[in-house]
């Protein structure tokens, strides 16, 4: 993974909160995925969405993650450091008790995981977590 710069960096609506920036090619892929989901609308950092990830993932093959955004229509998860950043989109129907879901994902290495919720009023909120992915010593 080609780290260009650390720290907040205003590259576009999707990137302001990332602390670990992906390489240029991946950056474009992340921006495209965000644009496809938001239609280019503003994405705000908000308390309206919670992204739960482990601090250290013992193995990148199976990393448990949860997302929750009360009142959301759908939530998209991106793994900004993966060769393909798309992870999944959860769309909640009328019988979803909470707009929340848990799953297990693959992370290719230490990276920022992004969750963006599309709210019922058409606004978008985002949460970003850094997940450290350990690649084993001898257990490989």
């Amino acid at each position: 993974m080609n780290l260009t710069r650390r720290g907040t960096f205003a590259l576009g609506a999707g990137f302001a909160a990332l602390t670990l920036l992906p390489a240029t090619g991946a950056r474009a892929a992340v921006e495209d995925s965000i644009a496809a989901f938001t239609g280019g609308a503003e994405v705000a950092d908000g308390a309206g969405i919670t992204l739960t990830t482990p601090e250290i993932a013992e193995n990148g093959n199976t990393v448990p993650v949860s997302v929750a955004a009360p009142g959301a229509v759908s939530i998209m998860i991106l793994a900004t450091g993966n060769p393909n950043p798309d992870v999944g989109i959860f769309t909640f129907g009328p019988l979803a008790a909470s707009q929340a879901a848990s799953t297990r994902i693959r992370l290719a290495g230490t990276q920022d995981v992004v969750a963006i919720a599309k709210m019922a009023d058409g606004s978008f909120v985002r949460a970003v977590n850094t997940v450290k992915v350990t690649i084993g010593g001898c257990g490989g």
Partner: protein, 109 residues
Amino acid sequence: MAEDVKPRVRVPKTAAAGETIVIKTLINHVMESGQRKDSSGNPIPRQIINRFTCEFNGQMVLDVTLEPAISTNPYFEFEAVVPESGEFKFTWYDDDGSVYETTEAITVG
């Protein structure tokens, strides 16, 4: 990968009207990402489950678009409201066109 794919779901047998229940689902599937190469160096083609839906008595609870970054043996946990007795229907859609389905009844009362 249509053979030997068995979904498992955990749904309570009963609930009060309007109660929130937790649903867990697991299905065995390699979720071949398309990133791996075989021993000769040839890419192994992508084959994943690309969509999962949960419906109750015909109404949508959850609709998930899965990408190759979802782990092998996809697992989902989520909550549903149960307004009345009925049946949950769970459906997984494979890249190769296979569709895997299972249902669970729940009684309200």
